[in-house]
Each structure stands twice: as structure tokens, then as C-alpha cells.
């Protein structure tokens, strides 16, 4: 497989991708439109409560063609969310299908923790 990882993305315009967020008892699900983005060009980071999602789209064209019309260009999709839920960061899953990024963030299961009582001297 050819290496399609995009390295220099800083010059591309940045847009906010259209996003749907669904919450169930067990998880948060994020669906984000990222047409033309390959999984290797997606970066997802969760730092404390901040979830950052970044993807870069590409458009491979043969040489020697002239552009006669353009409603879109290669671009950076960037979005940052504050997550006010305890997320099990080890169990986050992401997949891409038909240009839609799906991120599943399982909530940390609330287990009651027994507090040991020390004997005061």
C-alpha cells in the first residue's frame, strides 16, 4: 500500500466538520463528516476533558489536468469538544466509513469503591 500520510498540512484551510453527537447510558458516539480523509490522516486526542479531532482530506488528481470548477479543496477538519463525562480513554474506538468518522467513547463505569478506615492512634 502506498504511503498516503499527509505531512505538510499547515497551509490547508481549516473547517469545522458537521457533527452529530449521541449519548447513551454507556457511551458517547460522535459522527463527523470528513469526505476524502483516510484513517491514517486522522488524529484524535483526549487530554483531561478536552477531545481534539483533526483530519486532513486529500484530492489525488492525474497530472496535466486543468481545474474548471471547484467547490471544495483539500482541507483540514478540526474540532474540539469539552467532554463532561468520565471516559475510559483506553477503550475509545474510531472508524471511518463513506467519509464519516465515528468515534465511540465508553463512559467510565461507576464502581463504588470501599474506603478503608484507618484506626486513629
Amino acid at each position: 500500500m502506498e504511503d498516503t500520510k499527509i505531512t505538510n498540512t499547515s497551509k490547508l484551510p481549516v473547517v469545522l466538520p458537521a457533527t452529530d453527537i449521541f449519548e447513551t447510558e454507556k457511551e458517547l458516539m460522535i459522527l463527523m463528516e470528513m469526505p476524502g480523509v483516510k484513517l491514517e490522516n486522522v488524529d484524535i486526542q483526549l487530554e483531561s476533558d478536552t477531545l481534539s479531532i483533526h483530519g486532513t482530506s486529500s484530492l489525488e488528481l492525474p497530472e496535466g489536468v486543468r481545474r474548471s470548477h471547484a467547490e471544495f479543496r483539500p482541507r483540514n477538519f478540526k474540532r474540539v469538544f469539552e467532554i463532561y463525562q468520565n471516559i475510559n480513554s483506553d477503550a475509545i474506538e474510531a472508524s471511518l466509513k463513506d467519509g464519516v468518522l465515528k468515534i465511540t467513547l465508553p463512559k467510565q463505569t461507576q464502581t463504588s469503591k470501599k474506603i478503608a478506615i484507618r484506626q486513629a492512634n
Binding site: L16, E23, R66, H69, G99
Partner: protein, 147 residues
């Protein structure tokens, strides 16, 4: 060709490009507004002397819900974006994507060979290559019948 359909649009329109630029100026001015799913697929057209390449962004549409038709010099894209069925109990906190059917027609700059048109769908982007109909440039000699 049915032009009554409101989604009919001619692509080679410099005014549309100007309008798009004005919109993007506004978008920049308004700052961080999330983009909604465009109701119509966003197009990118490139060409050379042999072929026309039409690229369309249609995120969230599965291949079986996409249709491509060619009527002379008009390429027609049809599709339906269906919401992922979510049977689980839950709450939608944010709904920015849009769903439903679309139809978009594109005027091509020349006649193309319908039998050689190829379409590939990948990562939510439809790539259609339309080889131009071969123009017979050589002068054709007309034989003269003896009456």
C-alpha cells in the same frame, strides 16, 4: 431534459463561484460556525483534452444509494443520505448533518463516450472519469458513385 426540478444547476457559472467566495467571506467573518452538510454534493471538475474528471463529495452515503446518469452532455448525480439507525436509547446532543435525497445535474463541456465512463467511490468521495467522444478530425473522403 426536465428543468423544472429546482435542484438543476449549471456548473459552469462564474456567478456561482463569486457567490461561493462571498459566502466563504461571510463564514470567515462569522468565525467558528460549523459547516452543515451541503444538501447537494460539492463538486470539483478537472479536464484535459482527452477526458473530464468529476469529483463529488457525498459523505455518509453508501454506494448502493448513489446513482449516476448520463444524458448527452449532462451528467446527473442522484443519491440518498440515510441516518444510521440508532436503536439504542439515548439523547442527540448535536445534529448538524443533514439527510434526504438530492439530484444534481452538471453540464459537461463536450460530449463524452458513455460506454467508457468509469466511477469509483472511496472515502465518501465519488470520482467519475468521462472520456471525451473522439472527434474525427481527419477529413473524410466521399466516394462518388457513377450514375
Amino acid at each position: 431534459m426536465n428543468r423544472k426540478n429546482s435542484s438543476y444547476e449549471i456548473v459552469y457559472n462564474p456567478m456561482a463561484e463569486l457567490q461561493r467566495q462571498l459566502h466563504s467571506l461571510f463564514d470567515n467573518f462569522l468565525g467558528e460556525m460549523p459547516s452543515r452538510t451541503p444538501q447537494l454534493p460539492q463538486l470539483h471538475v478537472t479536464e484535459n483534452e482527452n477526458a473530464i474528471l468529476v469529483t463529488a463529495e457525498v459523505p455518509g452515503i453508501s454506494q448502493e444509494n448513489l446513482e449516476i446518469h448520463l444524458e448527452n452532455k449532462t451528467l446527473i448525480l442522484k443519491g440518498e443520505r440515510k441516518r444510521e439507525t440508532e436503536e439504542k436509547e439515548g439523547t442527540w446532543h448535536r445534529v448538524e448533518r443533514s439527510f434526504g435525497s438530492f439530484k444534481r445535474a452538471i453540464s459537461l463541456s463536450s460530449e463524452v463516450d458513455a460506454s467508457k465512463v468509469e466511477a469509483v467511490y472511496k472515502d465518501g468521495v465519488l470520482h467519475i472519469s468521462l472520456p471525451r467522444l473522439e472527434q474525427n478530425n481527419s477529413t473524410k473522403r466521399i466516394s462518388i458513385r457513377n450514375s
